[in-house]
């Protein structure tokens, strides 16, 4: 009976496979035979102009919508003003100085903090964690910024981080707490967060651009919106996972609701909350370059400008500066998460207790007062600044002259024998059949609900007329994920079975994940110029990490008794791996591939800059034309692709886990 069902399943799979291939090879003939061209190409006049309506709606919102006393435009202006104030303050403090007057005629009233002071503050923070390696790392990073002439730009970037992170954290915390308290709100917020994390950033840059105009404030708002969702999720998760007895204990001690929240729940979940803060910092840094498309200055702008001019040397140099800043801030914030609670010292005076802070404060004031008289303090001497951009340019030139043929043949081989077949396959399958297959898959893994979701979301892509672009996205994503998995899963297995490999790979993977997505474009563009291949390489680099991490985690977490049982049965190491460990780690590996797909899709939008013709390009064009509807609709298409993939793979993983009794 059971084998019968199994056989039926196999036959069904086989049939579907055959039909798919027949349709792929003969789709055109069949369509022309029945005179039904719509099978191949969705007819233009049936495209539903959602993007047009969206644009009209936003136009109405901006021009006419009011809340009675004030209009929508007033509201956006007010928000912009609110964010502008602290940003200006910080910017003046660490970068521009306090100025009076506008533009060229501005007179400096007070200078900004000297680079010496900023470095001292940051290094003191590192000192506070008592982690010597961290101190060295942070000091190195910030001295790098000074010595390589990136100081001014990096301080502009740092100012926006200093504003965006606390605002994102606070809003995230509040939303998280509210959705913890109200189940209804949780149900409303959760799908919105899903969308926010899957819609590519570019897509919501457009409405922000329209609502808030071009400039640093828009960039800040985009950064906040982009970096906040994980904070909401972490807060909710942290509060929910508190031991109910702790909560009961708070109640039995007679806490009011407010006391319970601020004296018990929030402090108890602080370690988890700090992980959320770290996430916000990382995502804010990730936005540094992207946000410069709508007016952020600083390092991001420098990278973007040099990429646009294909000025590889400068781009690389600034890219490294962003990486250095990102790594320093990431490690610093992580170290703050892990500071062990210290014993309270009793009976010491205020002065003694805060000795370090007071010393630091005095030092900064002294430096500040000296800065007008000592140019060394005000600005790092220019003749000491290193400029490496020429070196990089020469290096690239050298590589291109000497290794051009090798690189080129590598590229052409992969393009013709790997990428193009995949591309033809996705573009060749008639869309009605593709949707049918998706729906059947949805049905198989998640019954009616998932089947319906797959059907509706994929139909949306068809009726908005973006099917072909979506297929190109799919092909780029598919081939990148395929290669990323082929590299990542073996690496993960290696890390899972070998402790030393694990250590080395963890450092490598952590670093990969710290880098802003944009940075990956720089080296690949240097070597392979523009095109699908370049995009794929960048995507692979960016999306590799989760494949490694989840696989290693899955392998390491296998119950040790099972391994021992297998060894007692006489498994060779090879058998142990292939017969026991890999099958048991499969659900986890699937989740890793899922994450890889998510990252690949988000990166694909950015690779539109190197000339792919997929949904990402569509979003990017919308951004340059400030066409809200177009950007939003194509952004939604990307989001829907990732939602379909996510739901199907997750249910597959859960199905497996359920089968093995791992839930």
């Amino acid at each position: 009976m059971i084998s019968n069902i199994q056989n039926n399943k196999k036959i069904t799979f086989f049939l579907l496979f055959i039909i798919t291939f027949i349709l792929y090879f003969y789709g055109k003939e069949i369509a022309s035979y029945f005179d039904a061209k719509w099978i191949i190409k969705y007819p233009k006049h049936y495209i539903f102009p959602i993007s047009k309506y969206t644009s009209l709606f936003v136009k109405w919102l901006m021009d006419e919508a009011t809340f009675g006393i004030f209009s929508f435009r007033d509201l956006t202006r007010f928000i912009a003003w609110l964010i502008q104030q602290p940003y200006n303050l910080i910017l003046a403090l660490i970068s521009k100085g306090f100025l009076q007057g506008q533009g060229q005629d501005a007179v400096e009233i007070l200078p900004p903090l000297s680079w010496i002071s900023v470095i001292t503050i940051i290094v003191s923070m590192a000192l506070y964690t008592k982690d010597k390696i961290l101190v060295a790392l942070v000091a190195f990073a910030f001295f790098y910024l000074v010595i390589f002439g990136q100081w001014e730009s990096s301080m502009v970037t740092l100012s926006s981080i200093i504003i965006a992170v606390p605002v994102g954290v606070i809003i995230g915390l509040i939303l998280g707490i509210l959705s913890y308290k109200s189940e209804i709100l949780e149900r409303i917020i959760s799908p919105i967060l899903d969308l926010m994390q899957t819609v590519p950033v570019f897509a919501y840059l457009v409405p922000i651009l329209v609502m808030f105009g071009f400039g640093p404030v828009s960039a800040l708002i985009a950064t906040i919106i982009y970096s906040m969702p994980p904070m909401v999720r972490t807060t909710l998760l942290a509060l929910k996972s508190i031991d109910p007895q702790i909560k009961e204990c708070g109640l039995m001690s007679g806490c009011t609701e407010r006391q319970l929240l601020w004296k018990v729940l929030v402090p108890v979940s602080k370690p988890t909350l700090m992980v959320g803060v770290n996430q916000v910092i990382m995502l804010s840094l990730n936005m540094v370059i992207i946000a410069s498309m709508i007016g952020a200055g600083g390092l991001g702008y420098d990278v973007l400008a040099s990429l646009r001019r294909l000025n590889i040397g400068v781009g690389f140099e600034t890219g490294v500066a962003i990486v250095v800043l990102a790594i320093a801030l990431d490690r610093l914030s992580q170290a703050f998460v892990n500071i062990p609670a210290r014993k309270r010292k009793k009976n010491i005076s205020f002065f003694k207790k805060n000795f370090n802070i007071i010393t630091l404060f005095i030092f900064i004031i002294v430096i500040y007062l000296l800065s007008p008289f000592l140019p060394l303090i005000k600005n790092f001497p220019e003749n000491l600044v290193f400029n490496t951009s020429l070196f990089w340019e020469e290096l690239v030139k050298y590589i291109n002259i000497n290794y051009y043929d090798n690189l080129e043949s590598f590229k052409v081989t992969l393009l013709t024998y790997f990428m193009l077949p995949i591309k033809r396959f996705f573009l060749g399958i008639p869309w009605p059949w593709f949707i049918t297959i998706l729906t059947i898959t949805g049905w198989y893994f998640g019954k009616l609900r998932l089947a319906f979701l797959c059907l509706v979301l994929s139909l949306f892509i068809v009726v908005t007329g973006l099917w072909e672009k979506a297929m190109i996205t799919l092909y780029l994503c598919g081939s990148s994920v395929l290669i990323a998995s082929m590299i990542g899963i073996p690496l993960g297995v290696w890390a899972g079975v070998n402790a030393r490999a694990n250590k080395a790979l963890t450092v490598f993977i952590d670093t990969l994940q710290t880098l802003p997505s944009f940075v990956y474009l720089i080296p690949v563009v240097m070597l392979f110029r523009v095109g699908d291949f370049t995009a794929m390489l960048a995507v692979i680099l960016y999306a590799l990490a989760p494949a490694v991490r989840y696989t290693a985690h899955g392998i390491k977490n296998i119950n040790n008794q099972i391994v021992e049982a297998a060894l007692i049965c006489g498994c060779s190491p090879r058998q142990l791996l292939f017969k026991i460990k890999l099958p048991l780690a499969l659900p986890e590996i699937l989740l890793g591939i899922n994450q890889t797909i998510m990252l690949a899709l988000s990166m694909l939008v950015i690779t539109a800059l190197v000339g792919t013709r997929d949904l990402g390009q569509e979003v990017y064009i919308a951004l340059t034309k400030a066409d809200i509807g177009r950007g939003l609709v194509s952004g939604l298409c990307v989001a829907f692709i990732s939602i379909i993939a996510d739901r199907i793979i997750k249910s597959g993983s859960n199905k497996l886990k359920d089968k093995y009794g791992m839930i």
Binding site: I246, C249, M252, S253, G254, C255, V268, A341
Partner: protein, 336 residues
Amino acid sequence: MKKNPKLICKNVWKLFGNNPKDFLLKHNNNPSDDTIKKEGYIQAIRDASVEVFENEILVIMGLSGSGKSTLVRCMSRLVEPTIGEIFFEDINMGEISKKELIEIRRHKMGMVFQHFALFPHRTVIENIAFPLEVQGIGRNEREKSAMEIIELVGLEGRENYFPKELSGGQQQRVGIGRSLAVKPELWFLDEPFSALDPLIRKEMQNEFLRIQSALKKTIIFITHDFDEAIRLADRIIIMNEGKIVQIGSPEDLIMKPADEYVKEFTEDLPRERLLSVKSIMTKDQNSKYDVTVYENEKVFKIVEKVLTNGIVRVIDNNNKTVGSIDKETVSRFLYN
């Protein structure tokens, strides 16, 4: 002697499911077990009525899922009973406002939790002073009272440790200390020693009895360990599937188990070590035998006396004769 009830539960029900109140009303507040199951409800507590007397140790005993934790949480209003009334010192707990409830918890109740529920970010002294802190008592004053408690629970010198630096037994000492910080009148202990090793459990039980002999609180103590119940209890409530099966002194339960379920718990116990002479003697105020034993002595201590003398006289603490006990009774008690 008339005993004062400190806390009274009257016909408390707790069902989980959709709109359990209406469901109960529909069935005259007395649906059968089958009806409850059939309509998809889960019965946590079924018609529980209890009186808790002042200064007694009342142990609620049952296996996991028997509803004992829920019953205690209904008493402290951590869980809202579906129907039924709870009176604490004549206050109807169901009718008081949130604010009044907070006040009662701040001054009259304390609770110890199975997994300690210590706040990991606070030191021992900060954990113990926490209930005082939420009342708004200043730092110096609350830390002074906390220090007294720390001495009481034997943690001197560790007041600035964090919970994770303590052993399990020490952690629960902190939990006990914290629950005593407000000098509560009603003290809930929810399986306080279940998470500890057997040896430490015994030590903590002794510690608990020592503290109780000094403080004389009204105590509601949950456990799933019958030995522990017998050791500590003045009275025991046995619960099964949400129902109170029997309420009585340890001796009552052993001598007159209400049903098979209770019997199963009591069967394998060393009864001669748990029961006193009183519970098996023949009542007879006129017996004249020379050899005497006290009625409160445990049976195993008098076996030899009875067996050598055939029959002995039982007297109470005032040397008044209250009965007798003979060889046959003791043998039957020991060997059946």
